[in-house]
């Protein structure tokens, strides 16, 4: 039975993992420092004590960890693997792309890989270039892999459960800057939702803002600033990136006629391009050219003020949104 409790995001993930381990006896949970120490972010705290050897530490061997998940999943386990930083997945991407994503298709459905990779990404002040990247676009180009990105405590809880329950290999991309935030009310113990869908965070008339991940908070701040001037926008937080709810985006853009996509990942080749492409391919008539905001195509410097100059900030999002709303197609009769 559903119950409302006060949890921060880290606590919500912990609660979701505990429920998975409790209700799905086939789950196993592992990763570097995940077992005895309870994770470098404390996300799996207490779980090894409670669930014994279904929760364990691993060597620093991401390839072995992920490959083992593929193998164990094909034999009825439901592995939940923590990759501490998404940047580290690059030492083992083969196991995600060439192995996990392939098995079901290539075996004509005889072998499946219902595994979940929990990882986290993004910049935090002072983090180095190798601990700062937003790499969801790499995974979103790989058919066969599901991807979601929770931000709130409730979504963190719900999405982990949906991911683990899902029969496809699924990557849950969290964000370490959110784990230790303020506690919010989170309903736990409710129904496990199917994968997919989005969250409408604001309703508005003048534009549609599509976003995902922790930068959504800045987007909401930016949109709220514009409200003072009577400008309002739909804000769609795409908690599921694969499957991606393109129809929700289309429905909104058809109404507002204007589109801004914001992500923390590098702008060029980011998934924002796909969102824009789908909208314009649909033939939806836009009142202004769509825009994208993302990392200003750079490696990520450690100095916080340098990183801040490259990653979209609230003010920049607000001014970009103002421009999208203020713009009218010159020479466009419509």
């Amino acid at each position: 039975m559903p119950e409302a409790v006060k949890l921060n995001v880290g606590g919500a993930v912990n609660a979701a993992l505990a429920r998975c381990l409790e209700e799905m006896p086939e789950t196993i949970l592992y990763g570097e420092d995940v077992g005895k120490p309870g994770g470098v972010f404390g996300i799996s705290r207490g779980l090894q004590k409670r669930f014994g050897d279904r929760v364990f530490d691993t060597p620093i061997s991401e390839t072995a960890m992920l490959g083992a998940a593929v193998g164990a999943a094909s034999f009825g386990r439901r592995p939940i693997v923590e990759i501490m930083w998404i940047d580290f997945s690059l030492v083992a991407l083969d196991q995600i792309v060439n192995q996990a994503a392939n098995v079901r298709y290539v075996s004509e459905g005889r072998t499946t890989a219902p595994l979940t990779i929990r990882t986290q990404q993004g910049n935090s002040p002072g983090a180095c270039a190798q601990h700062s990247q937003n790499l969801e676009a790499l995974l979103l180009h790989i058919p066969g892999i599901r991807v979601c990105m929770p931000r709130t405590g409730q979504d963190a809880y719900d999405l982990v459960l949906s991911a683990v329950a899902c029969e496809d290999p699924t990557v849950v991309i969290e964000n370490r800057t959110l784990y230790a935030g303020a506690k919010e009310e989170v309903t736990i113990g409710g129904e496990i939702l199917p994968i997919g869908g989005h969250r409408r965070r604001r309703d508005g008339d003048h534009a549609t803002v599509v976003t995902w991940g922790s930068i959504t908070t800045r987007v909401l701040d930016a949109v709220d600033r514009l409200a003072a001037d009577g400008l309002t926008a739909d804000v769609l937080e795409m908690v599921w990136l694969n499957p991606f709810d393109h129809s929700a985006v289309l429905e909104s853009v058809r109404r507002t006629g204007r589109l801004l996509v914001v992500h923390e990942a590098a702008r060029t080749g980011g998934f924002g391009a796909e969102v824009v492409a789908r909208v314009v391919e649909s033939g939806t008539v836009l009142l202004a050219p769509p825009r994208r905001l993302g990392l200003n195509d750079s490696r990520i410097p450690s100095a916080p003020q340098l990183a801040a100059a490259l990653i979209p900030q609230t003010e920049q999002i607000a001014s970009e949104l103002r421009e999208v709303i203020g713009w009218t197609h010159a020479g466009d009769g419509s």
């Binding site: 193998g71 094909s74 290539v106 004509e108």
Partner: protein, 321 residues
Amino acid sequence: MSESPVAVNDRLRDLHAMWRIRALEEKVRDLRLEELIVGSVHLSNGQESIAVAACSELRPQDALYATYRGHGWAVARGVPPRNILAELLARSTGVNGGRGGSAHFSAPEFGFHGENSIVGAGAPTAVGAALAARYDGSGRVAVSVFGDGAMNQGAVTEAMNFAAAFGLGVIFICENNRYSELTPINDMVANPDLSQRATALGIPAVRVDGNDLSQVRTAMSLSVASAAAGRGPSFIEAHTQRIVGHYIGDAEQYRPAGELDADMIVEPIARLARELETAGVGRHAIDRCEARARDEIERAASQALADPLVDPSTAKEHLYA
């Protein structure tokens, strides 16, 4: 005739088992040359003894992971030749309906959990099959097969250490055929004894003559018993030779003069036939092993060729659950 009839029969059975693989591989080559099979195929001619001996020690619940050079392992595991050939011929009766192909098919219902065309990448997956056994009470033993060259791929060390650290029931079989594609392994390592890498990770390791079925069997039977009893992984370096090119069309210019001739003498089918003859077994019985195998494969190929081609309209199926 010094051997018991039972022993002779067992050895004839082995010879037949090896011939089934050899005949299949030769058929694959023919079909490839006729372009009925398209794309790259990697044959295992000369290495049959390892697959036959190793698989003879496995139980149905055990899980085997091979490489792109995996046709022989599939046959040894009991996958019907017709469905293997159908897979290579892009027929709907192929083990994976043509999605896997020569280099990446699987037949889990026979304990053949797939080829892998990324060198070394199957080792971690096999570790996962053994990891699952820790929880499911199956007593499953996982077998990871790879080549000498794969030892230099980081994934293999990671997998071996992972299995060693957690005492998982994985048997790592390194088929050392002296070459990685066109390059001699001994030019790519400073220490040619690859088994020492396993030892250093705390894994019991042996080197065996892969052409000697009994050496492979002994090593396997100890390894299976050990893994099934929860005593962790083992490593078997089996020396062998591939008596065909790495791929069809390989000019094999990398081979020193005389090497192939020497290999043709020690390769396991020639060797076992010679041993049987020395043991007094009649030529007819020996030849029948080949003939029966060739017959079976011919029939399998005819069937596969008569099977319907996979239907392109199904191309999008099975990507997601």
